[in-house]
């Protein structure tokens, strides 16, 4: 039986069996490279419904699958009349979000509250690598009731591989609902003063009694001065 008439294309295969070495040195372990099904940029949160004045954190996740990338740029649109972005870097002018990707260097991090966009961009300091992790957190605060779609703007967002290759990536938006129940400061009830009966019921009488007391005081003072002389 000849080998060559049995060649199959490699497509539609889940994996390949190949000759292997036994378990032998060198014992080198490299950092894990996590991959998933297709390049993807997604937004996630554990709290998608909030009240006006309440806060929630939205995570930006980049999954380049098994494709090595050099840079990523992500622009997110939102409705600034309903959601506000909490500034995470008071030292820098403008509004910044939390850049949490410790492997890449951020070269853009700015939220524009006027037009309702958030932009982050980062580059690997070394050669291209796979990226399958959370890269940034955005803290939002509910401003007005309604529904806001946080959308990754495809036309402005990109994953770039070696030789500036654009890596197509699907995007997953996120919907946040801000309900009408405005959160207000909690009021701790204080114990009420005991009612005095007459005074509480008759404010006018209270005034008259006060005036009489003052007048009595004045008269007594004049009298003592005369006696003294």
């Amino acid at each position: 039986m000849n080998l060559l008439d049995k060649v199959y294309a490699q497509s539609n295969l889940d994996t390949l069996a190949a000759p292997t070495f036994p378990f032998t040195p060198p014992f080198e372990e490299q950092p894990p490279a996590t991959t998933t099904d297709g390049a993807k940029i997604s937004l996630n949160t554990s709290k998608a419904t909030l009240k006006v004045g309440e806060k929630t954190t939205v995570t930006i996740r980049v999954e380049s699958d098994d494709i090595e990338i050099n840079t990523y740029k992500i622009v997110i649109s939102y409705d600034p009349t309903k959601l506000g972005v909490i500034d995470k870097d008071a030292q820098t002018s403008g509004t910044q979000i939390s850049f949490t990707d410790t492997y890449f260097t951020d070269n853009a991090n700015l939220a524009s509250e006027q037009i309702g966009t958030i932009e982050i961009a980062a580059t690997t300091p070394s050669s291209a690598v796979t990226v399958n992790r959370n890269v940034a957190d955005i803290e939002f605060e509910g401003r007005a009731t309604g529904t806001v779609t946080l959308e990754i703007m495809d036309e402005h967002s990109s994953l770039t591989g070696t030789n500036n290759t654009n890596i197509p990536a699907s995007t997953v938006p996120l919907v946040i609902t801000i309900t009408g129940d405005t959160t207000t400061p909690t009021i701790i009830p204080t114990p009420g003063l005991p009612k005095s009966g007459i005074l509480d019921e008759s404010p006018v009488l209270t005034g008259i009694v006060g005036i009489l007391l003052v007048m009595t005081g004045i008269m007594l003072a004049i009298r003592y001065r005369k006696v003294g002389k």
């Binding site: 080998l3 889940d14 994996t15 069996a17 190949a18």
Partner: protein, 311 residues
Amino acid sequence: MIQTVTRPRIIEQERVFMNSKLNIKVFSDAERDEIEKKIDEAFSKFRYIVNRFTRFEETSELAKLNDSKKAFEASKELFRLVRFSLDVAEETDGAFDPTIIDLIEAYGYKKGYDFSVLEDPEKIRKEIDTLVKDRPNFRDIKLNEKASTITLAKNQRIDLGGIGKGYAMDLARKVLLPLKNFLINAGGDIYAHGVNKENKPWTAGLLFVDEKGKSEVIRKMNLKNQALASSGSWARKVKYFHHLLNPKTGKPCSKILQSFVVAKSAILADAYSTALFVAGRDGIKLLERKELEGMLVDKEHTIYKTKGFVN
């Protein structure tokens, strides 16, 4: 309000370990965190096996066994692995032999890979001939199951490299079983369980590597809760040396280019792909006796296979 994703998804992770790429794919509707936790745990089994049973670290249990001069009280796990190795050695009449460290090291295949010795083939030939003449046999190892002791003959050592990867894959498989659908690829040795994202059995391509290092897929097969292992001589050959030695001659097997074995467990597939490579065409009968499936490609590129192996 955010929609919770409940559809089954593929999550894949890859690590480089022991000079091999380890890849695990899971197709499951479990929570991502749960899947990733299981995958991490599965990967940790490979590190565990190396730490525990490498012969290169003095602190490993296997290294202590190899240093022992008398009956060595082994853990149940080491005892089981050694007994398994010796059973396969017996069943294959020594085609699989876990005691050929001395022969392999004579070619420089040891920690640090010092292949400079290959520059003087005549010197190696003499050394190998001497070793083969005087060395103890795997049958000289004494096992005492009750006392869980292993007694090696003088100048005898055991290497679990021939089954370590398969055993680690089986441990990883146990970790991943609750996720139902997964694929483990340890540098070309595969275990597949359940179905892929098309709800069909996982499909593996059999990659053949020829004498010039050129590779192509020569078969594809479905794996249903099965392991597939391959041994090849040309994949990482150094001059005239490759690690698949004939234990009886001490020389690299030269007639076969590659073997493939399918079995229910990765440890079986791992051990028998080596045995099939060394035994050559006789190994096919051996597999059939063990009710395993396999295939050989010899240096003329002729294929020999068991009856049940994929066409």
